[in-house]
Subunit: 440 residues, 2 copies
């Protein structure tokens, strides 16, 4: 028997355990460089994923390796840092003890940075039959699926069957939904007609569904309008004030009773936090988030903290917590690191979290983006350059930045997306509903 | 019901069907650019794989996308070209008809370019428990496995268990075996100790097993010796005149009765052709290859050809056919293209295949390689540069070349391999013997 232990050495220094290496966890640990403590990271993956660009992997624009970064490489130089590939199953706050898939571990300070998962709002058939874009595996699966379905579409002359294979329904008009709709429209215009000369791309429909009366609800109204106009021009059918009632893997039914047929429903309609069992005293707010105070301390506990999507700092100014996106997570991570360093030094003077809203942005396609920054609204080409610049800056690793830049430059001039790959057989079939089999 | 047809249009032009887009098929189709015929390619993958660099993907040196290239991108500009993602199941030569996984198809000329698969020489337990490196999925699986096993090794203090996880046995001392042994030795020296400070890498053993009395039997003896010396210096345990009798996923037993313990046996001991059912009249030679004449025509048939690993041109000069590697396949592909163009024009004057042996090469590690070229033997740094140059030249696609070059340059100076990623959950467990589960 292999001993079922995490084998993290016990020292006389306090132990900070971080669960999850997303944006919040990554920034936290980077900023803990000089802490006089042992730092342990648990994650189910061995790498950080740059989620804002997952949609580019899904649409063949970027290679997988460009947007993931191994934790051990990121933190290789930190002393007193331990990474463990594993899942935290339960927290036992009374004993300051974690149960994980690889054994138990005591902590002195615990940081929950588990992020968010797709929120299906209880719609089980949608959860079962739709495709999310939250992990790198999701993105690869979606890429494989898209390409495979075009290969399959070549093989039928039944119009309904063919359309079910080449039509896409994207649910959720936030940045992810808008960006994937734009990227699919670009594929439809520039790439797929070269690859599949036998198909009539006039037949390919891209539907973007949003329950609210406008896209990109977190941005200014004129940005929403611009995104709407740009997508329309690119041939995307944008349906506002529309929500999905059911999806069986073939027929999407809307609340209005209207129906669409597609074998690919991409779910980008919302996220909910991923808390961990054992925090009975914690207050869960809307979106399955842990209520934390302005020091990111989970309300009800002394030494348990949460940052990022899973945490909600509820104040008068932020009655629903901060937006569930990368910048608040990163800023919370860095602020909490400062406070942890102070706490460990015995300094009781902690820094309350203040969100510096740098704004938000979404790209819609070649030369098209919308950007809202402090007092500044950009659109079109300038916004698109800003979008690329910001995403390159925040990507982890110099080599990745160079590679992504080269990839973007070459695809800009070649109107091409070169990663049109089906890789990983077992993964392809896995979430593919039976109806999609080649003989059906 | 989707109609079960390949939906390749019937025209008045002759139809050339190519099965397999490896080196032979790829070069053939490229050289058929101006043929007055319809060209159809069947492949189980939607991309060409640059097999000589698979081991670099397996050892985290290169990203997946760098060594695969979508067929539709490669051949997008050819007129009268059709690609179908599917598997050819049976040939019916009397009717000039193929049965495939996606329907039936008539051909006028058939080219079998199905390549070779790992040859386990009938050792079923080895086939079941070892890992090959023939496809991109194999390489990803091996990469995931290597990294996951180091993560697991951290969790045990049982020495045998730990060694079973961090020791490697590579069977086969040809270029693939030598290159993967060298790459693992580099990981052991430069990369893994930074990632896994908790492990003692003195304990990590890399065994390279070769049945013949020397490594790289296709090369000059002094190259074999140099490779042997280089690997020894890098800490690889090279065992010549040794063959494997059995492997249960944990214990490797050699013909001598000696045993080693490892959870990872990498099988690079040989390949055998992958012919297709239905060619009863064809003569199969050693290595499961189709005997073809000097025009690559399958002996016994008029309009069926074979190129590359699956084909053996048996003459007095080449009693065993040409070596099963990329250069003969590529040259045969190009020569057959010329002959097909002539045949279709009605020209009966065909060009017999002449192999131009440019030599062979293998890299052993940083600054180390052996190269045998016409009258020229190189080793060390110069050979290593030559190896890189040749591999860059033959990679498909300009962007890939730039990316691979950047990756090689950065890893040269950083002593780093940046793709230490576990990606694709379902794939990981799939071939992992039960013993490797974390709780065993």
């Amino acid at each position: 028997m292999m001993t079922n232990s995490t084998r993290i050495p016990d020292t006389d220094k306090p132990r900070i355990v971080v669960i999850g290496g997303g944006f919040g966890g990554l920034e936290l640990i980077k900023a803990l460089k000089k802490v006089d403590a042992q730092v342990v990271l648990f994650d189910k993956q061995n790498h950080h994923t740059f989620q804002p660009l997952l949609y580019q992997v899904a649409t063949s624009g970027l290679e997988t390796a460009s947007i993931v970064y191994p934790f051990r490489k990121a933190f290789g130089k930190l002393r007193n840092f331990y990474f463990r590939l594993g899942e935290v199953i339960q927290i036992n706050p009374d004993d300051k003890y974690l149960e994980t898939s690889i054994g138990g571990l005591h902590y002195d300070y615990l940081v929950i940075a588990t992020g968010a998962d797709s929120n299906y709002y209880g719609l089980e058939d949608i959860e079962k039959n739709s495709l999310p874009i939250k992990t790198i595996e999701d993105a690869i699966l979606l890429r494989n699926r898209i390409i495979k379905q075009f290969e399959l579409a070549l093989l039928t002359d039944d119009d309904e069957k063919k359309n079910s294979l080449i039509d896409y329904v994207i649910v959720g008009g936030g940045p992810t939904g808008v960006e994937i709709a734009g990227a699919l429209a670009e594929l439809k215009k520039h790439v797929l007609p070269k690859d599949y000369k036998e198909l009539d791309f006039y037949e390919m429909d891209i539907h973007l569904i949003e329950a609210a009366p406008r896209l990109l609800t977190a941005m200014a109204e004129e940005s929403s309008e611009r995104a709407y106009e740009d997508l329309k021009k690119m041939g995307v059918d944008v349906r506002l004030n529309t929500s999905v009632k059911s999806y069986d893997g073939y027929t999407v039914t809307f609340n209005s009773g209207e129906q669409l047929i597609t074998r690919t429903l991409i779910w980008a309609a919302g996220v909910s936090g991923v808390p961990i069992k054992g925090l009975e005293k914690a207050n869960m707010v809307k979106g399955n988030r842990l209520q934390v105070d302005e020091f990111n301390k989970v309300v009800g506990y002394d030494n348990i903290f949460a940052v990022g999507d899973v945490a909600a700092i509820i104040t008068d100014e932020t009655p629903k917590g901060h937006p569930m996106m990368a910048p608040p997570a990163m800023q919370q991570g860095r602020n909490l690191a400062k406070n942890l360093i102070r706490m460990i030094k015995g300094d009781i003077d902690l820094i309350p979290f203040k969100y510096f809203d740098k704004g938000s942005m979404a790209t819609i396609g070649r030369n098209k983006a919308v950007v809202n920054m402090k007092g500044l609204k950009m659109k079109g080409f300038i916004a698109w350059l800003a979008w690329m610049f910001v995403h390159l800056i925040f990507l982890v690793g110099f080599k990745k930045r160079v590679q992504v830049l080269i990839t973007w430059i070459t695809s800009y001039f070649s109107y091409d997306k070169s990663n049109r790959l089906i890789i990983g057989k077992p993964t392809i079939e896995e979430k593919q509903p039976e109806k999609i089999s080649i003989s059906s």
